[in-house]
């Protein structure tokens, strides 16, 4: 295998793994957050606005990790610096 093939294969496989793992773990985290928020809303419906707002902020924090993974895999596929370096040669 020459270096072009290695770089292409490594980029594609890594992009797939990045999105895969980066979707799984935040999904678990968000599921836990939502379930405990629903539990606490069921126990204390009066506090629902506060819980909802805090939940949204927390979800955004968790979600951003997934977004980082997505951005990294997009860079690997569409704007890969190593690939551009090899192509330019």
């Amino acid at each position: 295998m020459d270096s072009t093939t290695i770089i292409a294969a490594a980029s594609i496989v890594t992009a797939g793994f990045t999105t895969g793992i980066g979707c799984m773990m935040p999904a678990i985290g968000e599921g836990k957050a939502v379930s405990s928020a629903l539990n606490s809303i069921a126990q204390q419906p009066d506090a629902a606005p506060t819980i909802t707002r805090t939940l949204f902020v927390g979800l955004a924090m968790i979600e951003s990790t997934a977004i980082y993974c997505f951005v990294v895999s997009m860079i690997l596929i569409f704007a890969n610096p190593f690939w551009n370096h090899i192509i330019a040669k």
């Binding site: 707002r53 902020v57 955004a60 977004i67 997009m74």
Partner: protein
Amino acid sequence: MKLSPDQTIFWQHGFITINLTLVTTWALMLVLIIAARLVTRKLKTDINISRWQCMLEIIVTGINNQIKDIGLKNPKEYIGFIGTLFIFIGTANLCIIFPGYTPPTASLSTTAALALCVFIAVPFFGISKSGLSGYLKSYLKPTFIMLPFNLISEVSRTLALAVRLFGNAMSGGMIVAILLSISPFIFPVIMNALGLLTGMVQAYIFSILATVYITAAVQDSKKTDKPELETIKKINKNG
């Protein structure tokens, strides 16, 4: 495939480049300013108000209430900044219902600029509330060991704000573009509807996070000797 609207260039001379992001941003700003001018030209305190004034009042009151709920006592000082962020990002993300439109928030330069505004606004509000030394002391809390971590968090949350909004707006357009090549009739429409929801939630999140950061900067520097007691009092008052 184009990753961001920065790559669509209309005019270039030296390092001055006019791309799609700039054009959409300025068009949105024009539309927002003209609409706000037209609506606020004849405000009434009557019972019968125009429907546009009613819409504007709902938006302003809603933002005010949200800011107050988070813990800023006087929302009038902050609504100029936070409300502008919310309305601009919200409009930019909602306009994806127009065909051929790329949201300017799908470019990292726009979101980085917005996040830098938050980065500058936090010390600005903190200093204007409690003076330079009072604000700088908030970096030494709870102990001076936390100083480097406070500084790192200041930078990293700005980065997170920028990348979060960029990633969400960009991924919406990207998913629709990918789905168009797989199942080109109905399904992209559903994903676009989901994109409207995500866009609105992201606008909300961005402004809420900006408010939370400003609140932290403003409240850290304030001296409250017994915060636990106040919380207990508040809980008792609420029943």
